[in-house]
Amino acid sequence: MGTKTLRPTIPCFLFGCADLCDRARVPFTTRASKKSLRSMKGLCLTLEPATVMEADVHKMSVPLENGSLAPVDRLRSERSDSPTPGLVEGTEPGAGQDSAMFVHAQSFEDLTAEGEQGQEQEEVQEEEEGESERAPEFGELGDSEETQEPEGKEEQEQEERENEKEEEDQSGSGRAKEEDVNSEAWRRHRKHVFVLSEAGKPIYSRYGTEEALSSTMGVMMALVSFVEAEKNIIRSIHADGYKVVFLRKSPLVLVGVSRCRQSERELTRELLYIYYQIISLLTLTQLNHIFQHKQNYDLRRLLAGSEHLTDNLLRLLDRDPGLLLSAVTCLPLASSSRDVISSSLQAAKAKSLVFSILLAGSRLVTLVRKKDQFLHHMDLHLLFNLVGSSSSFREGEGWTPICLPKFNMAGFFHAHISYLEPASELCLILVSTDREDFFNLSDCKRRFLERLRRRSSYQALQEAVQAPSYPVSQVGIPELRHFVYKSKSSGLYTSPEIPVPYKCEEEEERLMDLYQYLHSRMHHPTRPLRSIYHCAEKENLLAYVTSGFELYLCFSPLGTKALAVSAVNKLLKWIRKEEDRLFILNPQTY
């Protein structure tokens, strides 16, 4: 192993290695740099015994929180307009009327104990939920916390961000593939993601070419297998302000290296997204088959051309609140128009059709599904990403195999993807089980479009697509700059357009960073919070979670805590009033 060449890239790996070797008294790396190793402080390894099962397996039948989007079949009480509506799941503003549109389609993998790492996370969050139900009154804060950010830190981060920006500008193109992996610029990226095979072969790197990183990836694999030899699983390494997170999904290994404030768990979740992205192109069956046949297969051959999908997904993970909140946002549209569109889509059905999805950019217009079949928000995000990162579907009618990993990891669906009109943002995705059914689905689209064109709703829809989303000022809360509200039972979220102070890319990302930070605090595995008031350098934020909804608010620095607390009720009332427009309340099935 080339110790010398590796150290400058990711020093903590080596240190981690050697540290382990010391403990285990196994000669592993050269001992030459031992002295310097000792001097390295603050290194901590999180290890978890592989054999420990999660204790709460029996709790799985309970609807899962965050990301689960389980249908609520229980009878709903009257939709309330009381001062604190929606503290219980299913009655919050934005909750669907009959049943949820998506669900945590529990695949076999989810139900087996070792399947999903996210599983145990969801359980922890579930406990959280229970806790908040016990203390529903906002204000009596058992778990509430107020934080004042040390200014220095923020400044430093800001500076780093700027540096990075500059460097990116210098490097020119968005996909900085040809970047020198030994350069300072490469090391300074905020978040690296690597995917490798169990043989240590590089499959994907966010920055720099995979070839140049093959030795680094070799070290990563060595670390993973070294820890595994002792019947442990390596989860993360924390050192020098960096978090190195490992996700082992045989036959792949995913590694994230980050120096932002996101928690280890959030990073793992992001890696899981990347894993699912790869599965969606290949299916797990094919992936396993390939590596069973040839352990050192170069998977890049099969993934050729998909790098930009992964790149774009990583960008979305940095920027899109939907991926953070495990929710989808809708195009604001009068419910009467939306219902007409839904029923037109519903009428244009075919035997093999499972889901019909109409998108406006990255916003959902409507989704019609086969009875008893639910789409998981992760799968939907993967579809969004597929459509959003490729102009390929503008050429004609697209027909592509796609695996929806949360639905079923083993097989392909076949998606008919096309834009309603050549220059339109409206994209129709028809997901079918039959790969021979292209012309049938093509006909479905034609029928849908014909039906829609005869109705005035099409005009309304086109206007809604053209119009900007709503400004935050509509809510009428002073000092409120931005918010994100997620209805847990419907799995939908709403958010006003990004206001002026955050219009530029950098600032928008900074705002998202803050939300991400609050999100990870709220959903901390051992110390979850119900609410948090956070004074950042340039804004004040409030996050509030109940069993019914999740809410993140951003105020100007002039906002006070009292104002923020009173804003919650006001905002909930406003959302209740607008929910017909902002959410899909009448999800349809064929």
């Binding site: 050729a304 490729s390 390929s392 004609g396 592509t400």
Partner: protein, 202 residues
């Protein structure tokens, strides 16, 4: 896979980034998009009408993705195709190796499919002769051997693109006529076998 609104199914095959999509784009929309390379996902379908004499032939063109990932799927795209346009990049000799693969595949699975070889990016070669990596005469020999036709096109300038598709439509028109006249003589048992074969195979 056969649609009622399409007369002839045409499939575009070839290694990734040889310019299959650009070729279709030029033929269908008469334009050449400059910008970062975007690979096709799965396949894209477009229908276009071509005037042949006093008849109109609708070509249903399947623009397939070149990535190896979709290779196992490719059969659903070329099954029953009347014509296959197998593309290669004149400036990339490795792309011609893929042509041989596709030709073999077609000969094995779709014997009634007419093959058209298409060397793309001719404008690059015309600007700079040294760019050419695939010799015209070598390909012509290969084409004769497999009874295919050869075109060298440029989607950027549009040269030879319409001619290629025109030829595809004309050939289809002629053979379609032949099949109709020849049909009467075909023995039914033979036809059944054919059907059985394709059924089993796919």
């Amino acid at each position: 896979m056969s649609g009622h609104r399409v007369d002839a199914k045409v499939v575009m095959l070839g290694k990734e980034s040889v310019g299959k999509t650009s070729l279709v784009e030029r033929f269908v929309h008469h334009r050449f998009l400059v910008g970062p390379y975007q690979n096709t996902i799965g396949a894209a379908f477009v229908a276009r009408q071509v005037q042949v004499g006093d008849k109109v032939v609708t070509l249903g063109i399947w623009d397939t993705a070149g990535s190896e990932r979709y290779e196992a799927m490719s059969r659903i795209y070329y099954r029953g195709a009347k014509a296959a346009i197998v593309c290669y990049d004149l400036t990339d000799s490795s792309s011609f190796l893929r042509v041989k693969f596709w030709v073999k595949e077609l000969q094995n699975c779709e014997e009634h499919c007419k093959i058209y070889l298409c060397g793309t990016k001719n404008d690059l070669v015309e600007n700079d002769r040294s760019m050419r990596q695939v010799d015209y005469h070598d390909v012509q020999d290969f084409a004769d051997e497999i009874k295919a036709q050869l075109f060298e096109t440029s989607s950027k300038t549009g040269s030879n693109v319409d001619e290629l598709f025109q030829k595809v439509a004309e050939d289809f028109n002629n053979t379609a006529f032949q099949i109709i006249t020849g049909e009467k003589g075909v023995d039914l048992g033979q036809k059944k076998n054919d059907y059985f074969y394709s059924c089993c195979h796919h």
